[in-house]
């Protein structure tokens, strides 16, 4: 039955680990030893990568455009901060998971709003929720510390063994391991029938329903998962920096995230990670040119990328990386939403 064996081989092909992927993770780990003085910024990149990964799950795989993903980041950050500050859960890993679950709960509740309506409504609702949370956090400043944020967070050693150090070494390895574990999980999900159904929903929700996919249920599930991941990213932020302020809900965070995925590409999981690296390097570059107005350059990059066309940019500038992407995912990266779609 050559047909059967052909089918089996090809069906499993996309899930196999590629050399490029293995190299990526080895390189990521090697960075810890190559750049021992830059733990803090590398932790930033890891965390941004995780945050971007969470958005990729809903944007690149399910096709949901969200402008308010920072809501979950912020909830996770404050949850972790409050857990540590008031000594409710002292062990960081448990607190991390707890914070993620809080964010996931919020994601679940808000997912019902997000699956209704057209693109614009979704944009509005996601943005509205993030702003609502920011306003809430500001209003209840006796709990959240208002504009100054939570003060005096002290983190206990991870698993009772690894204390957070001044140089950020513990923080970096902690974040990297968390990212890797969550990445493995995401990878598993994406290559499962569930993940495939998400891609089908993004491509053609009408057809997906017509073959029996319970579209809404799947979207709610992935949105909740993405919220969990974003919440963990936020919790990592607070745990590694001992800070949590209103800034975690800022619209700029959600916008930066979009840029990260635009740079890295969506729909193949590594886009968020690669995009995070490039974005941080760009940010460093721009901040060294005009420290106060780097927002201008980010805006310019966004405008240029869109005007030239994301697909075209990905073809020219990222010609080599696209070869790499073929190594990672066996197919070309898909830009978030088909270029000509005007809905």
């Amino acid at each position: 039955m050559t047909a059967l064996s052909d089918v089996s081989t090809h069906a499993m092909a996309s899930a196999r680990w590629r050399i490029g992927e293995v190299a990526f993770w080895i390189l990521a780990l090697a960075c810890a030893f190559l750049f021992p003085s830059r733990y803090l910024i590398m932790t930033d990149i890891v965390r941004l990568g995780l945050f971007a990964l969470s958005l990729d799950l809903i944007l690149g795989y399910a096709g949901i455009v969200s402008l308010g993903h920072a809501a979950f980041f912020g909830v996770g950050a404050y949850a972790a901060g409050l857990l540590a500050l008031h000594g409710i859960i002292n062990e960081p890993v448990i607190a991390l998971v707890a914070a993620g679950l809080v964010a996931a709960a919020l994601g679940f509740v808000t997912s019902f709003l997000v699956i209704r309506g057209v693109d614009l409504t979704r944009l509005m609702v996601t943005l509205g929720i993030a702003l609502l949370l920011e306003a809430l956090a500001e209003r209840f400043s006796d709990i959240t510390g208002g504009t100054d944020g939570l003060q005096g967070i002290e983190m206990q050693p991870i698993l009772g063994l690894f204390a957070f150090d001044m140089f950020g070494k513990t923080g970096f390895f902690y974040s990297l391991i968390v990212l890797f574990i969550l990445f493995l999980l995401a990878r598993r999900v994406v290559h499962s029938p569930f993940g495939l159904s998400l891609r089908a929903i993004r491509n053609n929700p009408l057809r997906a329903a017509a073959i029996g996919v319970p579209v809404n249920r799947r979207l709610i599930a992935v949105y909740t998962l993405a919220a969990f991941y974003a919440g963990i990213a936020g919790a990592l932020f607070t745990q590694t920096t001992a800070l949590a302020s209103l800034d975690v809900f800022a619209f700029e965070r959600s916008a930066d995230l979009m840029l990260v995925l635009v740079i890295g590409g969506t729909g193949y999981l590594y886009g968020g990670l690669i995009g995070a690296v490039v974005f941080k390097m760009l940010q460093e570059l721009f901040q060294s040119i005009t420290p106060q107005y780097w927002l201008f350059w980010i805006g310019l990059v966004l405008v240029v990328i869109v005007m030239v066309g994301r697909a075209r940019i990905h073809r020219w500038v990222l010609f080599v990386p696209n070869l790499i992407i073929r190594q990672f995912a066996g197919r070309k990266a898909v830009v978030a939403v088909p270029e000509s779609e005007a809905s």
Binding site: T121, L123, G128, R139, M258, G299, V301, L302, V303, V337
Partner: protein, 289 residues
Amino acid sequence: MASILTNLFDGVAYGMLLFVLACGLAVTLGLMNFVNLAHGAFAMAGGYICAVLVNNSGWPFFAALPLAFVGSALIGIALERTLYRHLYSRSHLDQVLFSIGLVFMSVAAVDYIMGSSRVFIKLPAALEGQIDLFGVGIGRYRLMIVVICGLLTLGLQLILAKTRFGSRLRAAVDDPRAAIGLGINVPQVFAFTFAFGCGLAGLGGALSAEILGLDPYFPLKFMIYFLIVVTVGGSSSITGPFLASLLLGIADVAGKYYVPKVGPFVIYTVMIVILLWRPNGLFGRTAAR
């Protein structure tokens, strides 16, 4: 009782201001199906133009207002012809990314040029203080806003309903392809309408300096309000956004006055509830596009 009426009046004034600010966005969305998150930047431009003319060059306030309109409209035409035009057929995501990029650029640029503190426009003495109408305190400035915005709204309705341009515009909103088939120069209608919307935003920006506060972060701070007006009010008419703006204005003022602890959320919650109930806005058509 008097304070309720004053609050109501304030809410109406705020709502009408929001309408003038946001109706350009509603028309852009309804007409070109373009999500322009940078709309607030045009408002900000008008506000700063007016501020510079009045504060630095000594122009009278009422003379500077039309310039705010014209200035923003010109910027709008320039950007429409060069940039926006190419993006009409792109996905909403692309449009969002593009307009966010524009917002960031404008915010940073204005911050750099004008500084980051709030700008106040020197008002003529006639607009300061209150007048007493049947025992109810009515702010003069707000009264002016109601008058100007009211006239503008009536004017818009008349243009839409009675002029040839208005019927061309309505045809183009309804079905661009059919409109082209009827010989309507749709791109020209787009460009003109976009510029007009930006001009209105600029005028609104100038008017709002006193009430909402004008600083480089204006487009980011008020983006959500414009978007709420458009999503709740729908984009297939101007009565929808008009009513939505009034609703929003009154709700916001009432919220901040009567339940100050939860003031800003009233708006967000109202929006979310309305969108839950009617995903296409209170007055929107079921989106075919």
